[in-house]
Symmetry: C2
């Protein structure tokens, strides 16, 4: 094995096709693909937003095995258009209002293109110095733009790193917190560690706790209430923590959220950080969605109190025009991260690392390998400038405000929770006398309304259940969305609601 | 907070720039960037392979904060060329022979481009059916091409998933194995679980064990020996496992490697899987580097025995022309993965998931969000065809064989370990009478030789220390590398060696 018959080799060499990275062929094919995508953006508004295919649709359309022989680009792109695009739920559609958006931009795309093109693996400084240095610089830029307290910046002894997703950011900080605590109480204490969030916290926290080996019985989703606008009450946290301590457990980690997934609720950071500080807990602030808005002075107040946290993250790919994936994480104590995540194999030893004058980001994240993600964030910041980015966000907020007013003006509907950012949580009120438990009826009606609206292909929204109430989440923030898309979406909602009400 | 002064809004709206995803502006700028990258590939062979910058070089060249106002693309691309490119270690340079390569291709690039362009977040089936379905199909295609045993394929009850990196693949399978075992012995047994690799195993295993909460004292790097070509001996594994059991510990997980990072050594799978099976351990096979070669029948033998493993992974971004990141993982028991990694928040509930007729890949990985990575793998397989992919790989192996012959023909050098794939591990022999411990002298000379060659900018190679021997790793597999680059690299090595020998 491993040796090759010389004749076979020669024969193969003779019939070899062009180098798969031939610059001129690259140029030709990449231009064709650019046009394909530009046309996609031009047309995306006309596609059904949520894909209308049925499970298993693609297996019937594709061959059972990989082709032996090469196929030309135009045949492949034809299949992308005819077979793949119909199976895509169009996150870039201007009528996409589901989940939280994943807002793309030309600058983000170009940054990703360059990153893919250079295709460097920046695990440590020497493996591509610019990848590391640009990331540190851009994270300081962005941290300053967010007015993060200095201890989160490199200049203040902390530092920022790009992760793929918030799930990774939480797992890394949780591992750091866990090992710091186990250093104090001994490794055998792992079964006593408790992780806290609220019943509104993103499920990434539970997932991170599972992966990090936290005992499943020691995960607390503290209940929130309508009177707190579904923010986590510091008092409720204190009670949970006290009960755990009384039971011999060790409070470890709190994930506070600014802009929860179900309803964009905001946990009150100052009170929570104070409560956590009393117990020596690590506080992570997850502002995955709403963090972007905090570059606007009028929204910055939502993260007041972050100075009491240990780490802070938000997803630039959600609402800062940087394509998936790009989660920005800052920590006050990079040392804690590095102690939990570093390994130092001989084959990566190098002089720069030994001088301790460089950052080796492999020790700040789960994986060793890492893409040059800073490029896209840098290009977004430079191409649009902070002033325009703020205005783009304000435009989305304004549209959400308009939508909110349309809902509020129609007595058949209600806005369920206060709107802080660019997501409106609303529902259709059940007609009088639908009988049975009124909430149950309302929930069922709204579920049917949502399904009908989404099945039309004209909009895509998703739902949440908050305080027992099924609500429709209308999240604005897809880059191509304009005011008339929002008005058209409202019309779709109303039409389907009227049909439903007629049936009842 | 959250409400905006109407006048401010109107003023902002009036001065708003074009939509950041305007299709025609996207088209224009993306074409410009394609040409920038095509020129980069044309010229990359002339750049110093390892970046020659000093730590901190970039902070001096960039402003201290993000710009308020937008900057045009040509100014940004000029900075990429003048400030970023000099700080890049050129992984796509034809003279890059360091680490393991990260081999790009036009098809891989275009697939990534489409994925970035669609910018979907395929956490579950409904969020973009094509992203899930194409991934399942392509993983079956690739699994069949590798002749993986049927239990690893969807059709055989297993299945494949794309992870970012091998580190993630190992962490996910380790979490699955851990929770399966804790289900048997009780959650409090976490401190007793033991993870095994060899002293040649990639540090990603140790990192995964750290993150998953395995007690640091329970990580075993079993020693390997020259007479086994640095493969992990099943007997040595058995002894380690028996000792742990005798001490009351619980053997959990073995990571066996096909193509180790230090020297591309191969752990003997049949013996190791048999030893692990006796103890009910989970076996993961990490073929990050060498897995690609196994699509060639003449290399497939290296993974014989994989039928005894629980999971298998390799990095298509290393040597299968798919840009970073793209790690292919197959498991026999998706259920075990899903049990360890799933969460089911209300806001992601949907009909397709409830019918259980679809795969929701969020439960197969660390994060919830995921890019549409299958596109690039699909485009690589279709654009080149399996027959050509095999020939590309054989071309790299042939060049490595040539290099090996050049080393062997020069009495001043030696090939340190057998070459199986496309990496040659060699060293300069110390001249007679250098005095002192001969190995120490040899190691120091080779360290100096490597540093001198890399500092020339003409090649980039890295090192490992295997069995106490400092060796230079010459890894061939960068897409643009041709035979003359390999000959030129050998000339660089010889010239620097001669200079060194003269000095001694």
């Amino acid at each position: 094995m491993g040796s090759l018959d010389a004749d076979v080799l020669k024969a193969n060499a003779a019939s070899s096709p062009a180098n798969p990275l031939d610059p001129e062929e690259f140029r030709r094919q990449a231009h064709v693909t650019v046009d394909f995508l530009a046309d996609y953006y031009r047309d995306v508004g006309s596609y059904p937003v949520r894909s209308q295919v049925e499970p298993g649709y693609l297996r019937e359309l594709l061959p059972a095995s990989a082709p032996d022989d090469p196929e030309p680009l135009d045949a492949i792109l034809r299949d992308v258009r005819d077979l793949i695009v119909p199976g895509i739920t169009h996150w870039q559609s201007p009528s996409f209002f589901a989940y939280f958006q994943c807002c793309g931009s030309t600058a983000g795309f170009l940054g990703e293109m360059l990153s893919t093109g250079f295709n460097v693996v920046g695990f440590n400084w020497v493996s591509s110095p610019a990848a590391t240095e640009l990331e540190s610089i851009v994270m300081d830029w962005l941290g300053s733009t967010l007015a993060l307290p200095k201890p989160f910046l490199f200049s203040g002894g902390g530092g920022g790193v790009l992760q793929g997703t918030t799930c990774e950011a939480i797992l890394c900080t949780l591992a750091a917190a866990r090992d710091r605590m186990l250093g104090r109480i001994g490794r055998d204490g792992i079964g006593k560690l408790v992780v806290y969030g609220s019943d509104q916290t993103h499920c990434g926290l539970q997932k991170a706790a599972q992966i990090a080996g936290i005992h499943p019985a020691n995960f607390r989703a503290v209940k929130t209430y309508k009177e707190d606008h579904f923010g986590l009450s510091p008092e409720a946290l204190r009670r949970a923590v006290d009960a755990d301590e009384a039971a011999g457990l060790v409070p470890l980690f709190l994930c506070a959220t600014v802009g929860t997934t179900p309803s964009a609720a905001v946990d009150p950071l100052p009170g929570l950080c104070a409560a956590a500080a009393e117990k020596g807990m690590w506080v992570h602030v997850d502002a995955a969605y709403a963090g972007s808005a905090c570059i606007c002075p009028e929204f910055r107040g939502f993260i007041d109190g972050v100075e009491g946290a240990d780490s802070f993250s938000f997803n630039a790919h959600k609402w800062l025009f940087t394509t998936l994936d790009c989660c920005c994480l800052w920590v006050k104590s990079p040392d804690a991260l590095v102690r939990a995540l570093s390994t130092n194999p001989e084959y990566l030893r190098n002089r720069a690392t030994e001088t301790k004058s460089v950052v080796d980001y492999k020790d700040w994240q789960i994986a060793l390998s890492r893409r040059f993600r800073a490029l896209k964030l840098w290009m977004v910041l430079r191409s649009y400038g902070v002033a325009n980015l703020r205005n783009f966000l304000r435009g989305h907020v304004r549209m959400a405000k308009d939508f909110e007013e349309m809902v509020a003006a129609d007595g058949r509907f209600e806005v369920v929770v206060p709107r802080y950012f660019a997501m409106v949580c609303f529902r259709l009120l059940p007609p009088d006398g639908t009988g049975g438990g009124e909430e149950t009826a309302a929930n069922e009606i709204n579920q049917r309304l949502l399904e009908a609206a989404n099945a039309s292909g004209k909009v895509y929204m998703t739902h949440a259940v908050v305080g027992g109430v099924y609500l429709i989440r209308f999240a604005i923030g897809t880059t191509l969305t304009e005011e008339w898309h929002v008005r058209a979406a409202w019309k779709v909602v109303v039409e389907h609601a009227e049909e439903l009400l007629k049936e009842l």
